[in-house]
Symmetry: C2
């Protein structure tokens, strides 16, 4: 057993949900250190779920780290990308579990970004009506957002994440070392979810992000460590108060109502999720301003930061004939919508979010002003 | 509003699960009486999920009963039969929900037998990560077993109910009137799950079933009312103690380990689920006897009752070359199995069940002695 010094210096954020509580550990060199998994119950088998891009880089190292805890450690390799966040891909996980004779004690390990994490989590929620799972997020986006909080699921052609479960992992291992190999476009997409936490919850964190954005884009380890930790702390605070999104938790969806419409409207995978969220935050900030909640300098501040992160701030045209109508139709399928009324996460002064409806005419103006 | 007299005389069994508690109401003339649904929250829309056999009989009447509570009541009609308890059929429900713009408040109504109930429950668990649903079971099997307790799911080619969720309904409406049109084969299949409750939990109920089996097969309303009520009471007691099958709840699977192997081995739908369970109970009783838990007269008593219910007591050959091996392989995929050891629900004297493993050699003897 390798008692890695980085493991012992890891930061720890606790998600407090009673009997479903679990830790997020954050540090370099964690994912392939057997000690990182010391708190998990032993079992006859484990299944690593990863994708074609990550398998050659990391699957063998994780398998080795887990070999001492499980009688057999199997691996299933999924196709890479949001376009594959489908039932067909999910079913590959069930096929692997059943063909290896995995039982109710089998532990699933999600080794990958948001797509792998969401699919693995939903597979764990559903296989034999629930088996334990662990998140090992390999992208910044997954480390600061999607691996934490128990939202799992797959896409439907008509809407993103429409089929899924609230299902918490046993543990989240955020290894900052793996971010070194992350392509710049993926790093930028992750920064969208980091930036998000400022406007919705923490004005001081927004100041910090502005001061450290260049360091973050350059992959500076200390800056990334702080960004991941503070993001997880804010998310833990919100999820601990509202696990199943009865209310407060919806604020974490800032930028996502517009963003999901872009993703679904262009076809999953054309824009990265974080790119949709980045552009969506600018649109939601503009809508906040039109409703008198936010002043124009604050809108410009958010737009500038999104741009500095390398993310798009001009929204795509989804329908040449009736672009705003197409956006509205897609957003009416948003999970926050109720009786056909779209609910937007809006910024009521930097550091505070509100969730509310808005007149279609105002939303159309924002779409028209935001599209290329 | 039709304040049906039968609704007011309905029996009521409560499933006590804290904030997930709900009532089962049992009586004649309930399913199309608006009052039966009076306790449910109002919403903009509802979706009735039913099948091709039941839609012409009952869907319109349920729709009318719900019209006053929901702005729109939609219906989706699934193909009928265990062979369709698949992802493809489940997806028809998601397609309907999304094409009608259903939101997180939309209520699903499962109008049908076990297949419709299991699919609808899993759809409700997964659509937007969870919407409310109501069970309106139309078969005896669904009324006494599958609609109660929150086990939902679909089959995988390699095993029954391998993908699903524990997800409780808001309400179960058992209308004894609809059992009048149930084909005799379906009624017999339901009796398997009624008989089950005697050996595992209630010797006096087994005596009662023996005395009233002819009345039950003839569709006698008073006999059916008692059978449904007592079955639901026993199930409520067990589920209230162990919602997620950490231990005790597994006793409800008496006959199901062998039965599921028969169902999967023959191809879903060849035997009805209740037929597999009936034959499986005889096999499990024989295994109990070989392990010294049950005496031969008690085994004969269970076999005789299964036979009187019109259910098979001779098991099918699943593989001419290695029949017992095929049964064992299928049973090793059972959800109760752990590290490759099959766990059987065995009878330790009438009225008491135990869950434990058994030597392969003994299991093989039972299979050999039970197959045609």
């Amino acid at each position: 057993m390798d008692a890695s010094p980085s493991a012992s210096s890891a930061a720890r954020v606790q998600i407090a949900l009673g009997e479903r509580s679990y830790p997020i550990v954050i540090g370099a060199g964690l994912f392939d250190a057997p000690d990182s998994y010391a708190g998990l119950p032993r079992a006859a088998s484990a299944l690593i779920v990863t994708n074609t891009t990550l398998a050659p880089l990391y699957a063998g190292r994780l398998q080795q780290a887990l070999a001492g805890r499980y009688g057999a450690v199997h691996t299933v390799v999924l196709p890479d990308g949001e376009a594959y966040k489908t039932w067909e891909t999910l079913n590959l996980v069930f096929d692997a579990l059943l063909s290896h004779g995995c039982d109710r004690k089998t532990v699933l390990f999600a080794l990958g970004g948001g797509v792998v994490g969401d699919i693995t989590g939903f597979a764990a929620a559903s296989y034999m009506r629930g088996v334990p799972f662990v998140q090992v997020p390999t992208t910044l986006l997954a480390q600061v957002d999607s691996s934490v909080g128990g939202k799992t699921g797959i896409n439907h052609p008509l809407g993103k994440n429409m089929v899924g479960a609230f299902y918490q992992p046993q543990l989240v291992v955020c290894d900052l070392g793996v971010l070194k190999t992350l392509p710049p476009r993926e790093l930028g997409a992750g920064l969208a979810e980091v930036i998000k936490y400022g406007p919705i919850a923490d004005a001081a964190f927004l100041d910090w992000i502005e001061a450290h954005l260049d360091a973050l884009r350059a992959g500076d380890p200390a800056a990334l460590a702080h960004a991941v930790r503070r993001s997880c702390e804010i998310k833990a605070e919100v999820v601990g108060q509202d696990e199943r999104e009865g209310g407060l938790r919806a604020i974490l969806n800032f930028g996502h109502t517009f963003g999901h419409a872009i993703e679904a409207g262009l076809g999953y995978g054309a824009w990265l999720h974080g790119e949709g969220v980045g552009c969506g935050m600018v649109m939601a900030a503009r809508l906040s301003a039109r409703l008198g909640l936010l002043d124009e300098p604050a809108v410009a501040r958010i737009a500038r930061l999104v741009e500095r992160a390398g993310l798009p701030t001009v929204a795509p045209v989804l329908d040449a004939a009736d672009n705003a109508g197409r956006y509205l139709a897609l957003m009416r399928l948003d999970k926050k919508a109720e009786a056909g009324e779209i609910k937007f996460v809006l910024i009521d002064g930097i550091g505070k979010a509100v969730v509310r409806g808005a007149p279609d005419a105002l939303v159309r103006e924002v779409i028209d002003a935001s599209c290329a």
